[in-house]
C-alpha cells in the first residue's frame, strides 16, 4: 500500500505552501498592496490545512480498505524518501517525510490552529509596521513546524526544530527597535541552544549505536534486541529530554518562555502556546520507543514535568501582566504533558497537547483582544469590568478559562484527567505525581479565575479607558477556538488513544477501574471548583484579602512575584561568570592578546620587509637595468658552474655504475 500511496499523497505540499508564502511576502511583500499580502499570507496556511485534510482523508479511506482486506494497518501509513540527503560511509540519511497517526494529529493542530491565528493576525496587526514581514515570518514558522512534524528521521526533525527556533527568534524580536524584545529573542535562542546540544548528542549516539537516525529503524532495532535496556538508551533518552526541555520550556530551561511574550500576541498564541513549545512533547512521543526502554529516563521526564507544572503554576499566582500569567500557565500545562509522557501515557499527553492548543491559543487570542481593545494595556490591575464592553471576548475567554481549569465538559477536563489517571496508576510514586498534578490543577484554576475576575469582573480600574470590541477577523477565530475548547475533549481519551496506539503504543496496562476513574475525575473537578471559589473569595468578595495575605507573608509573596529569582540566580551563577570569562580571557587574552598580537606581528614583519625592499624600487631605469643584467649574469654563472660540476663528477658517477 505504501508504494501505491506515495505517488499521489504529495506530502511535500504541506510544508511547501507556507514556504512559498514566506518567499512571496518576504521578498516582494514590501512592494505589494496590503490586500495581496493578506491573501498570500492566508492562502498559504489554508492551503496547507486543506492539504493535510486531503491527505488524512485519503489515508483514512485506504487504511479502512487495507483493514477490511487484510486486517492489518501499515504503520506508519506512508513514508516517503524523495531525496537521498547524506551518504557517508555506513550512514544514510534521506530527507524523508512520515505520515502516521501521530503526525496527522499534529499536522491538523499546527495547520488548523495556525490558519485561525493567521486570520486573527490580519485584524490584530492591521495597523502595525512590517505587516508583510510579520506574515512572512509566520509562514516561515509553519513551514518549519510542518517539516518538524513530518520528519521521518531525527535529522530532518532537527532541521524543523532549528527552523522553528529561528522563526520564534524572529517573531519574539519582531519589535526589534525595543531593546527588551531584541533581548528576549536572543535569550530564547541561546537557551534553546543548550537544549539543542542535548538533541545533537542524542543524534550522535543514535548514529554510533544504531547506525541510523530513522525513527522506524531505531524502533525496529530496539524491538529485535531486548538487551538494549538501560545504559546507552538511557543516555540517548536523557539527551533527547534535554532538547525537549529547551524547546518546551521545562525546568531548568523554561526561563526564555515568559520573556518571549515580548512578541506580538498572536505569535505568543501560535508559537509560544499552541504549537512550537509542544514540539518537545511531540519529539518525546515520536521517540517513545527509546523512553520505553529506559524506566529511568521516563522517571526523569515525569518528575521534570510534574515539578515544572507546579513550579510554574505557583509563579503564575503572583504575576500581574496578563500575558505573563498565560506564559507561566503554558509552562505549567507543558509540564502536565511531560508528566503524561513520563508515565508512558503518550496518547494522553498528545491529547492534552491538542486540547491545550485549543484553549491556550484562545486564551492568548482573547488576551490579545483585551490588550488591543485597551490600546496596549497588559497590566491586570488596570483592567476590570470588561465583560460588558467586550462581550464576545469575555464569553470566549470564559470558555477557555473553564477548559484550562478542567471543568466538565470542557476540553481540558478530559485530557488533564487522562494524564492524572495514568499517573495515579503508576504505583506509589505515581500517586505522588498525581498529587502534585492535582495541586497544580488547584493552582491553575485559582490563577485563571484570578485573571478572569481581575480582567472582566468588578469595576474598571484603569483611568480614561474606552475599550472597544475587536474586528470580526479577530473574533471569528476566537469563537471557533472557543467551540473547540468546549467540545474538543468529547472525542474521549479511549477513542483518541486507540487511534494513536499504532504510533505511540497502547495506553498502558489498565489496572484501574471505571469506578476509580470516576472518583479521580470527581477529585479533579472538585479541586478546580475549589480554585474558582478561592479566586472568587479573593478577587470578588474580599478584594482586600490578597493584599493582606501578601503583607502577612512578605517573603513568600516576594518569592512568587520575583519568579523565585531564577533569572537572577542564572544571571549570577552562569551568565555573569561566563561574561566575565569572555571579557577577561576570551576578549583580552585570546582576542586582543594572542590573535591580535599575531596579526600585528605578521603585519609588522611584512611592513619591515617592505621598508627594506622598497629601496630597490628607486624608479631609476638604469638601476633596474643593472639588476636585470646582474640577474642574467647570475643565471649564466650558475649554469656554467653546474655544467662544470657535472663535467667533473660524471666520470666518477660512471665508474660507480661500472663498479656495480
Amino acid at each position: 500500500m505504501n508504494q501505491f500511496m506515495n505517488g499521489y499523497l504529495h506530502l511535500w505540499l504541506i510544508p511547501l505552501l507556507p514556504f512559498a508564502g514566506f518567499l512571496l511576502n518576504g521578498i516582494l511583500g514590501r512592494g505589494l498592496p496590503k490586500w495581496m499580502v493578506t491573501t498570500v499570507a492566508l492562502l498559504a496556511p489554508l492551503g496547507a490545512f486543506l492539504a493535510v485534510l486531503n491527505v488524512g482523508f485519503l489515508v483514512y479511506i485506504h487504511v479502512n480498505q487495507g483493514f477490511w482486506n487484510h486486517g492489518v494497518i501499515d504503520v506508519p501509513w506512508v513514508e516517503t524518501c524523495p531525496l537521498p540527503w547524506i551518504n557517508i560511509a555506513a550512514l544514510h540519511v534521506d530527507f524523508s517525510f512520515v505520515l502516521d497517526q501521530l503526525s496527522l494529529v499534529m499536522l491538523l493542530i499546527v495547520t488548523g490552529v495556525g490558519f485561525l491565528i493567521h486570520v486573527y493576525s490580519v485584524g490584530y496587526m492591521s495597523d502595525e509596521e512590517g505587516y508583510a514581514r510579520y506574515f512572512s515570518y509566520l509562514n516561515l514558522f509553519l513551514f518549519f513546524m510542518t517539516v518538524l512534524v513530518l520528519a521521518g528521521n531525527a535529522l530532518v526533525m532537527f532541521v524543523g526544530w532549528e527552523g522553528v527556533g529561528l522563526a520564534s527568534y524572529l517573531l519574539i524580536g519582531f519589535y526589534f527597535q525595543k531593546k527588551s524584545a531584541a533581548d528576549a529573542g536572543k535569550k530564547a535562542f541561546i537557551v534553546n541552544r543548550i537544549g539543542d546540544v542535548g538533541f545533537l548528542i542524542a543524534m550522535f549516539l543514535l548514529v554510533a549505536n544504531f547506525g541510523t537516525l530513522t525513527f522506524t529503524e531505531v524502533a525496529a532495532k530496539l524491538g529485535m534486541d531486548p538487551g538494549w535496556n538501560g545504559g546507552v538508551v538511557t543516555v540517548i533518552a536523557l539527551c533527547l529530554m534535554l532538547g525537549a526541555a529547551g524547546k518546551s520550556a521545562q525546568l531548568p530551561l523554561y526561563i526564555w518562555l515568559p520573556d518571549a511574550m515580548e512578541g506580538p500576541t498572536p505569535v505568543s498564541a501560535l508559537i509560544h502556546a499552541a504549537t512550537m513549545v509542544t514540539a518537545g512533547v511531540y519529539m518525546v512521543a515520536r521517540t517513545h520507543v527509546l523512553f520505553d526502554h529506559s524506566p529511568f529516563a521516563l522517571g526523569v521526564v515525569a518528575i521534570v514535568g510534574a515539578a515544572t507544572a507546579i513550579f510554574a503554576a505557583t509563579i503564575a499566582l503572583a504575576q500581574n501582566d496578563i500575558k505573563r500569567v498565560l506564559a507561566y500557565s503554558t509552562i505549567s500545562q507543558l509540564g502536565y504533558m511531560f508528566l503524561g509522557c513520563g508515565v508512558a501515557a503518550y496518547s494522553a499527553a498528545i491529547f492534552h497537547l491538542m486540547t491545550h492548543a485549543f484553549f491556550k491559543a484562545l486564551l492568548f487570542l482573547a488576551a490579545g483582544a483585551v490588550i488591543h481593545g485597551l490600546g496596549g494595556e497588559q497590566d491586570l490591575r488596570k483592567m476590570g469590568g470588561l465583560w460588558k464592553k467586550l462581550p464576545v471576548t469575555f464569553w470566549t475567554m470564559t470558555a477557555a478559562v473553564f477548559a484550562i481549569a478542567g471543568f466538565w465538559p470542557f476540553a481540558g477536563f478530559f485530557s488533564k484527567d487522562a494524564i492524572l489517571y495514568a499517573a495515579f496508576l503508576q504505583g506509589p510514586n505515581g500517586r505522588v505525581l498525581w498529587f502534585v498534578g492535582v495541586v497544580t490543577a488547584l493552582l491553575t484554576s485559582f490563577y485563571m479565575f484570578r485573571l478572569w475576575y481581575l480582567a472582566f469582573m468588578g469595576k474598571p480600574r484603569g483611568e480614561d479607558v474606552h475599550p472597544h470590541e475587536s474586528p470580526v477577523s479577530m473574533l471569528g477565530p476566537m469563537v471557533i477556538l472557543a467551540l473547540l475548547s468546549i467540545g474538543g475533549g468529547w472525542i474521549g481519551i479511549e477513542r483518541f488513544g486507540s487511534f494513536l496506539a499504532p504510533s505511540v503504543g497502547a495506553r498502558g496496562a489498565e489496572t484501574g477501574s471505571a469506578h476509580l476513574e470516576l472518583i479521580l475525575s470527581g477529585v479533579a473537578v472538585g479541586v478546580a471548583l475549589m480554585g474558582w471559589l478561592l479566586a472568587h473569595l479573593f478577587y470578588r468578595e474580599k478584594s482586600a484579602l490578597p493584599a493582606r495575605l501578601a503583607d502577612a507573608l512578605p517573603g513568600g509573596y516576594k518569592l512568587l512575584a520575583g519568579k523565585y529569582f531564577v533569572d537572577e540566580f542564572y544571571g549570577a551563577v552562569i551568565v555573569k561568570p561566563l561574561l566575565g570569562f569572555s571579557k577577561v580571557f576570551l576578549e583580552w587574552v585570546v582576542d586582543v592578546g594572542i590573535l591580535g598580537g599575531l596579526a600585528w606581528l605578521l603585519g609588522g614583519i611584512a611592513m619591515l620587509a617592505g621598508a627594506i625592499l622598497q629601496r630597490w624600487q628607486s624608479g631609476n631605469l638604469r638601476s633596474y637595468a643593472a639588476w636585470l643584467a646582474a640577474g642574467a649574469a647570475a643565471v649564466l654563472l650558475f649554469l656554467l658552474v653546474q655544467w662544470q660540476v657535472v663535467q667533473a663528477f660524471m666520470p666518477i658517477f660512471h665508474q660507480g655504475m661500472a663498479g656495480n
Binding site: 624600487q617 624608479g619 631609476n620 631605469l621 638604469r622
Partner: protein, 107 residues
C-alpha cells in the same frame, strides 16, 4: 689570396661578433644617460641576437632561425615606432631625455 676569400667564415667568428654586439648593447643600455642612446642600445642587442639566429640557421640549414629573425625585426620596428613616440612625449612633458631624471615610477 683567392684561397682566403674562398674560405668559409668559421661559426665562431659569427658568434663572437654577435656576442660583441649584444654586449655593446648591454653596456650602452647601462651606462648611457640619453634615452635615445639607450633605445639604440636595445636595437643593438636585438640585432646581436638576430645575428646568432641567422648563423645557426645557416649552420644547420634550418629555416626556423630565419623566420625568427623576421619576427624580431618586425617587433623591433613596431617597438621603434611606439618607443620613439613615447620618447617624444616624454621630451615634450619634461624637456629632458636624461634617464636619471625620469624617475616618476618611484614610490
Amino acid at each position: 689570396m683567392s684561397s682566403f676569400f674562398a674560405q668559409e667564415v668559421p661559426l665562431t667568428w659569427y658568434l663572437l661578433l654577435s656576442a660583441a654586439l649584444f654586449s655593446l648593447g648591454v653596456i650602452g643600455f647601462l651606462i648611457k644617460r640619453n634615452l635615445i642612446t639607450v633605445f639604440m642600445s636595445i636595437e643593438l642587442m636585438l640585432n646581436g641576437v638576430n645575428l646568432s639566429f641567422v648563423t645557426f640557421a645557416q649552420q644547420w640549414h634550418a629555416v626556423k632561425g630565419q623566420i625568427f629573425v623576421f619576427f624580431v625585426m618586425m617587433v623591433a620596428a613596431a617597438e621603434a615606432a611606439v618607443g620613439l613616440a613615447i620618447i617624444i612625449a616624454v621630451f615634450r612633458a619634461r624637456a629632458t631625455l636624461a634617464v636619471d631624471r625620469i624617475d616618476l615610477m618611484k614610490l
